[in-house]
Amino acid sequence: MEITAITEGSNYIIQIDGDVDASSSIYVDQQIRDAIDKENIDHILVDCDELNYISSAGLGVFMSYISELNEKSIKMTLYGLSDKVKHVFQILGLDNLMSIVKDKAEALSR
């Protein structure tokens, strides 16, 4: 799994490429942590175009930040998810707690 991050103004964009399993989920955790700790960030975008698969460990990482993001009024939006990956979020019910949209444009318009 490869993970990269760039900042565009007050947006922190994380791009994930590959599979997020138990061992690689710690890097995702680190990125989100960095994003939250960075100054002047109010929107974390996660580009999931190249995200193949996400395990329960990966889901756990996202879900663990939900309350903190709400507290700090930081938005998190996932976009570009494949049907398969989106379905996983939906079954778990995470789509009601996190913003999942089609593409970056839609994400930025939030």
């Binding site: 955790d29 329960s56 756990g60 879900m63 663990s64 707690l97």
Partner: protein, 691 residues
């Protein structure tokens, strides 16, 4: 050893008795005026006198031999000290004894008295030579070979022969006898060319030893002088009074020559070895250091101890003024840094210097004999190092660190140390690697044990027997993957003709998954008996589990209540895979689309807004299938998931079979789809048939 002690005592008593007899005879022989008297009234044949004298010599030597053999363990200085004490005692005794004859007392001037004094002095003399002879024997035989031992035993036998000859050769000097005695003396001198013991003393001990030997030599000389001045061979009328003349005893001559020669030779050898003793000590020191390193390797589990020992002995061996040691861990990342009499900053500056000069200190050992000749040397500020030795630590081609030794002068190291330190470094590297492998193996074992325990716990949490009722048929199959995963299911006799069924996925790793499952089981076992509505059950379970699940863990559950009395089912879906329901009227199976959320995701009261209960009627012929994501997410040989469509097909297509058969068919289909006999994830299927 008491046998030996008894023998020694025997010899001692024998020699004392012999001497006493000899003394008495001497006393009598000298009453009427000594040597020249042939026809004195109490004259006793010299033969008997000499016989007892020689017997005394023989038995006293045998006594000293037995005594010395009883003592084991060679402390050279102690030996010499022992010899020195005896010699001093004897010479003092002789001097004091001799003083008596100078006293201005009438009786003391008599011939008898002079003879008795001489005889007593003779006793002292023989104690001296007996003791010293066997002290030297021990020194000579320190590193004995078979040949040397044989040679020495032969010498002792020949000495005994010499003693016998001396007995019969008094006053008669045959040429053959002289040749024999001369040859024996030379043989003794040759044997005494064994002074290996000198090399094992350190400088101080050598000096002490030389001093003791010198004093012993002086005492020997004194005894010899005494014999000479009281000898018949010199023109002194005084000496004619003496009935016995030890100075002409061949045995005595041979022994004295031996003792004197060994003293002189040992002293010279010690003195000439003094300058080189530091080298020998150093070599011995290196051997001890090796032992020390091996010792620490065998007993330590902590790598740090190895670092400390390696640094210490390398500095000691190379006589370095300072040193540093850096170690990398298995991922080649910095792990430890030790330094001795050298600032960390200075060590890094040195490494930078070497790098700038394109010198690779990680590839092979390096000797920088003069730093000032290197480029960029002027950039070093106040660095004490003028010459540097570096050694890389390697194990099976893996670089694990560098040892650096510095000296405050250029050309400070000698190349001999390099070889020894290379072997220290090699030893230490191996043991560091071994220690790491050992720790890894132990950790792996521990981890494997943990997994085993967790697996056992989890297996025991799943039900052995499912609820039994004549109106319903329930079958289940759960195949855990190798890793400890977390599929969970259970059935409950909730009330009269009401059956509860739960299926879920407790994710996590190793022991934490097992603990989570135990908590889930506990929570639901309580709730299923108390609460009838599935969505309420989920809400309460979420509240309970929110406190005990760790931050990134969650649980997915489907709660199903089957009311057989009223023909109803009530379902709530806590983020779990949707339940498959076959409606016998419609003749179709479909997934129940129920809003839900996994447990442990929203850990406050808002959870209840995200779950709902779904109710529908059931009748005979209806069937329900519950499963976990290990079924639908099983990856096929073409890379696709098994998926929801396939399980629906298989379920629907085999609806007339009993629940166990349906489960088996689905399982076989999944395995065929994956093209394997073993599945990657936990696999659980429940099939419920309403009869």
């Amino acid at each position: 050893m008491t046998n030996n002690q008894n023998i020694a005592r025997l010899y001692l008593s024998g020699s004392i008795i012999s001497w006493l007899v000899f003394f008495v005879i001497t006393f009598y022989s000298s009453i009427d005026g000594g040597f020249d008297q042939v026809h004195a009234s109490r004259y006793v044949s010299p033969f008997y006198r000499d016989a007892f004298f020689n017997l005394f010599i023989l038995l006293s030597f045998l006594y000293f031999k037995a005594k010395s053999e009883a003592v084991i363990g060679t402390n050279f200085n102690d030996l010499l000290w022992d010899g020195f004490m005896t010699s001093s005692l004897m010479i003092v005794a002789l001097v004091l004894n001799q003083q008596l004859s100078y006293l201005d007392v009438e009786f003391f001037k008599e011939d008898i008295f002079k003879n008795t004094i001489y005889a007593v002095n003779g006793l002292f003399l023989f104690v001296f030579i007996g003791k010293i002879f066997f002290v030297f024997k021990k020194l000579i035989l320190y590193q004995k070979s078979k040949k040397l031992l044989f040679g020495w035993n032969l010498y002792e036998i020949l000495l005994a022969v010499c003693l016998v000859i001396s007995h019969f050769e008094i006053d008669h000097f045959h040429l053959n006898t002289l040749i024999f005695v001369g040859a024996l003396a030379i043989y003794g001198l040759i044997l005494s060319m064994n002074m290996n013991w000198v090399a094992y003393l350190n400088f101080k001990q050598k000096l002490k030893g030389a001093l003791l030997l010198f004093i012993i030599l002086f005492i020997t000389g004194t005894f010899m002088y005494y014999l000479y001045t009281h000898s018949h061979l010199i023109e002194n009328p005084e000496n004619r009074i003496l009935v016995n003349d030890i100075s002409q005893h061949f045995f005595v001559i041979v022994i004295f020559l031996f003792i004197m020669f060994y003293c002189i030779a040992s002293i010279l050898v010690i003195l000439f070895n003094l300058p080189t003793s530091s080298v020998f000590e150093q070599k011995l020191g290196e051997v001890f250091n090796f032992q020390k390193l091996s010792q620490s390797i065998r007993t330590t589990k902590d790598e740090r101890e190895i670092y400390d020992v390696l640094l210490e002995i390398s500095v000691h061996t190379a006589l370095a003024d300072g040193a540093w040691l850096e170690i990398a861990d298995r991922q080649k990342k910095y792990k430890a840094f030790l330094n001795y009499q050298l600032e960390k900053y200075d060590a890094f500056e040195l490494k930078k210097l070497f790098k700038r000069n394109n010198q690779d200190i990680k590839g092979n050992y390096q000797y920088f004999s003069n730093l000032s000749k290197m480029k960029y040397y002027d950039r070093l500020i106040d660095n004490p190092a003028k010459s540097v030795l570096t050694f890389p630590l390697y194990t099976s081609n893996k670089f694990i660190g560098v040892l650096g030794l510095i000296k405050h002068i250029p050309d400070g190291f000698n190349t001999e140390s390099i070889e020894i330190i290379k072997s220290f470094v090699g030893q230490a590297s191996v043991s560091i690697e071994n220690s790491r492998l050992l720790n890894e193996a132990i950790q792996n074992e521990r981890y494997k044990e943990e997994l085993k325990i967790a697996k056992t716990v989890q297996e025991n949490l799943l039900p052995k027997l499912l609820t039994f009722d004549k109106k319903i048929e329930i079958s289940a199959l759960s195949i855990p993957a190798d890793d400890v995963g977390g599929d969970y299911y259970d059935t409950f006799d909730v009330a009269d003709e009401v059956i509860g069924v739960i299926i879920g996925d407790v994710s996590g790793h190793g022991t934490s998954a097992a603990f989570n499952m135990a908590q889930v089981k506990g929570v639901f076992q309580g709730l299923m008996q108390q609460v009838s509505s599935p969505d309420e059950i989920l809400t309460m379970a979420n509240r309970a589990l929110s406190n005990c699940l760790n931050a990134q863990s969650f649980v997915t559950i489907t709660v199903l209540m089957i009311d057989l009395k009223n023909g109803l089912i009530n379902v709530a879906r806590g983020g779990h895979c949707p339940t498959l329901f076959y409606n016998s009227n419609a003749g179709e199976a479909d997934f129940l689309n129920i809003k839900g959320l996994g447990l442990g995701i929203l850990r406050d009261e808002s959870y209840k807004d995200f779950v709902q209960s779904y109710t529908c009627e059931i009748k005979q012929g209806d069937q329900i299938m519950l499963y976990t994501d290990g079924v639908v997410e099983a990856v096929g040989s073409d890379g696709n998931d098994y998926g929801y469509e396939r399980i629906k097909e298989k379920f629907q297509g085999n609806i007339n079979l009993n629940s166990q058969e349906i489960i088996d068919i689905v399982k076989r289909d999944v395995l065929e789809f994956c093209g394997t006999t073993k599945l990657e994830d936990d696999f659980t299927l429940l099939c419920i048939k309403i009869l």
